[in-house]
Symmetry: C2
C-alpha cells in the first residue's frame, strides 16, 4: 500500500479538486491510501459528496493556507498550521511515501527543500513536467523553473533524475535524453551548454542523444529534455501558449457562423480526441525531483480528474523506486569518477 | 519604385521559388522592381514559365551557391561569384533598396554584416521573425538566434529596431513591447534580464509593457517580444514544434478511419482556415535588423507564394522608412542620455 499525503488546501478549487481527486485515485488504484491535510470540516464536507473506501482515508486538520501572495520562505516558517507545512512534516516523519500539492509553487518548493530535504549529492532539485507529444508517450522537461541560473553539473543531475523518473513512473527502461539547445551541433549554445553537452556525453547511466531543439520537445524524439530552469520555463510556456492559441483559433473558426457550428457538431468526437491528445491535465503534474521522497506539484487550476492523475503518478514513482534509482545513479557515477581519477596518475606514471 | 535584390540561388527550391515569388510580388505590387541574382540560364528558364512585366526585372549572373555545408565566414570571402555575395555587393553599391534571400542563414548574416554593414551604434544585428498570434496581428520576436550571448544594451537595441520595423512595415504606430522572461515580476530572470528590464522601462521611444512569458508570444498581448538570441531561438522553435505536433495530431485523428475521413471532408474549409491562421509562411520571413538596408531572410523551404510575401515585406519596410526610424531612435536616445548626464553635475553643484 502506497500512502500519499494530499495537501488539500492550495490551488483554485480547494479542497473540492483535491478531495475529489483523491477519492477518484482510490477508486482506480486499490493499492493507494491517502492522508488528507487541510481544514477538516471542509474536507469532510467534500468527502460526504460521494462514496469512498474510508479504510484508506485519514484526515489531518491544518486550517491555514499559504497563498501566492505570501513570501515562500517567510510563510513556510510562520504558518506552522498551514496544510503545506503540515503535509511536508508528515512526509518527513515517515507517515507517508509521497506528497501531492496544488499549492503556491514557491511555497511547495521551499517547504520541500527545508522540511523534507534533498537527496545527498543533489544541490539543485528540479521541476519536471510532462508535455504531450506527437508519439503519445509524453516528454519530460527538466528543469522548467526551479533554477534560473545553472551550472553544467546541475544539468547532469537533471538528466539522471528525469531518467530515473521515466524508468520508475512510466516504465521506460532506457529513456532517450536530449539537451535543449539552439541547434543540434556540439558547438551550439553558450559555454555552460557546451560544457553540459560534453559532460552528458560521458555519462554512462543515461541514454544521451545530444543537443535537441525547441521543436523536438513535442515531436517526442527524446523522452527526456534537459534544460536550465530559465530556458525550460520559456519552452514550457511557449508550448502551452501555442496550444492555447491554436485551440482558440479552432474555436474562432468553428464558431464563425451557423454553418461552421453545425459542422463542428458532426466532428465533435474528433475534436475531442484532438484536445485529449494535446491535453496537459492528462499528463499529470510536475515531479519535483531531487528530494528524499516523491513530490508532485499539480497545476493550481487542477480539477478533481487532473488531481487524481497526479496522485497515481506519485504512487507509480514510489512503486518504481524513483528516489532509490536516483541515489544509485549518483553513487555509481561518483565511483566511476573516483576510478577515473585513480586511473589517471597511474597512466601518468607509465608515460 | 522600390528595387529589391533577390538572391535567387539559396534554399530548397532554388531558383523556382525565388523567381516565382518575385514574379508574384511584381504582379501584386506595381511599385516594386527586382534584380534577380543567380544562374542566368536557370533564372530565364523559370521566368519563361509565366508572364511578367519585363521592364521591372533585371538579371545579374552569379552561378556559385553557398550551401549549409560551407563555413560562412570562409564562404563569403572565397565565393565571390556566389549569388549571396553578389547580391549584398549590389545592395551596398546602391543598386537596390532591400534584399531577400532564402540562402544558408549563417552565410546571409555574415555577408550582411561584412558586405552591407551595420547601422552606426548597433553592435549586434538581430533576426526578427513574425509569429502567428491569436489576434491575427503577428508577434515580432527579436532576437531569435543571431546572438547567443547578449548584454542588456543589445536587448534595448532589439526593442528599438523591432519597434521601428513594426511601425514601418506593419503600420503599428505604437507597438507594445515585452521582454521574454520566466515571469512577469521585475525580479524575474537572471541579472542580465533584470538589467535589460530596468533599461527598457526608462526608454521613451518604445511602448514597453514589462516582462512577458512564453505563453504571451502567441496570445498577442505584445506586438514585439524582445529576447536574447538563445532564449528567442528556443521559444521560436518550441512554438513551431507545438504547431507541427498539433497539426500532426489533427491529421492522425481525422485520418483514423473511413468515418473520420469522410467527416474531415465536410469541414475541409474550416480546417484550411485554421491552418492559414496558424501558418508561418503567411507571416513572411525574418527581418535581419540593424543593417544599413532592409534584409529579409526567407525560410530555406519557402515556395513561390511564401517568398513573394517576403519580397513585399522588404518593400514595405523600405517605404515605411524602417532604417531611418532606427537611426532616429538611436540619435534621440543618445541625446536624451547626454542631456541626463549633463543635468547630473549641474544638480550636484546645486546640492
Amino acid at each position: 500500500m502506497v500512502k500519499i499525503v494530499i495537501d488539500a488546501m492550495g490551488g483554485d478549487f480547494a479542497p473540492a479538486a483535491q478531495v475529489g481527486g483523491a477519492v477518484e485515485a482510490l477508486r482506480r488504484d486499490k493499492d493507494i491510501s491517502v492522508l488528507l491535510v487541510g481544514d477538516e470540516g471542509k474536507i469532510r464536507e467534500e468527502l460526504a459528496k460521494g462514496e469512498y473506501d474510508s479504510s484508506r482515508v485519514e484526515i489531518v486538520h491544518a486550517p491555514e493556507v499559504i497563498t501566492n501572495d505570501d513570501i515562500p520562505t517567510k510563510a513556510v516558517r510562520a504558518k506552522k498550521n498551514s496544510s503545506t507545512v503540515v503535509s511536508f512534516n508528515l512526509l518527513r516523519e515517515g507517515k507517508a511515501d509521497a506528497l501531492v500539492s496544488s499549492g503556491a509553487t514557491g511555497a511547495v518548493l521551499t517547504a520541500a527543500v527545508l522540511l523534507l530535504g534533498r537527496i545527498k549529492g543533489i544541490s539543485r532539485p528540479a521541476l519536471c513536467p510532462r508535455i504531450p507529444n506527437l508519439r503519445g508517450t509524453g516528454t519530460l522537461l527538466c528543469d522548467c523553473g526551479a533554477n534560473v541560473e545553472c551550472k553544467p553539473v546541475n544539468l547532469v543531475h537533471f538528466a539522471m533524475m528525469a531518467t530515473a523518473y521515466a524508468q520508475a513512473a512510466f516504465g521506460m527502461p532506457s529513456p532517450k535524453v536530449g539537451l535543449l539547445n539552439n541547434g543540434t551541433e556540439d558547438h551550439k549554445g553558450d559555454p555552460m551548454h557546451q560544457e553540459a553537452n560534453a559532460l552528458l556525453k560521458k555519462l554512462s547511466c543515461i541514454d544521451y542523444i545530444g543537443n535537441v531543439e525547441g521543436r523536438d520537445i513535442m515531436a517526442g524524439e527524446a523522452d527526456v529534455v534537459v534544460a536550465d530552469g530559465f530556458t525550460g520555463n520559456i519552452a514550457l510556456k511557449s508550448v502551452e501558449g501555442c496550444g492555447k492559441a491554436i485551440s482558440g483559433i479552432m474555436k474562432q473558426q468553428f464558431k464563425k457562423n451557423i454553418f461552421t457550428k453545425l459542422r463542428a457538431a458532426l466532428v465533435y468526437d474528433v475534436i475531442k480526441n484532438i484536445r485529449n491528445a494535446a491535453d496537459y491535465e492528462k499528463m499529470g503534474g510536475a515531479m519535483f525531483l531531487g528530494l528524499k521522497k516523491a513530490v508532485v506539484k499539480a497545476h493550481g487550476n487542477s480539477r478533481a480528474n487532473g488531481f487524481s492523475i497526479c496522485v497515481r503518478q506519485a504512487a507509480d514513482a514510489v512503486r518504481g523506486g524513483m528516489v532509490e534509482k536516483i541515489q544509485k545513479m549518483l553513487e555509481e557515477t561518483a565511483q566511476a569518477e573516483e576510478g577515473a581519477e585513480e586511473g589517471a596518475p597511474a597512466g601518468a606514471e607509465n608515460a
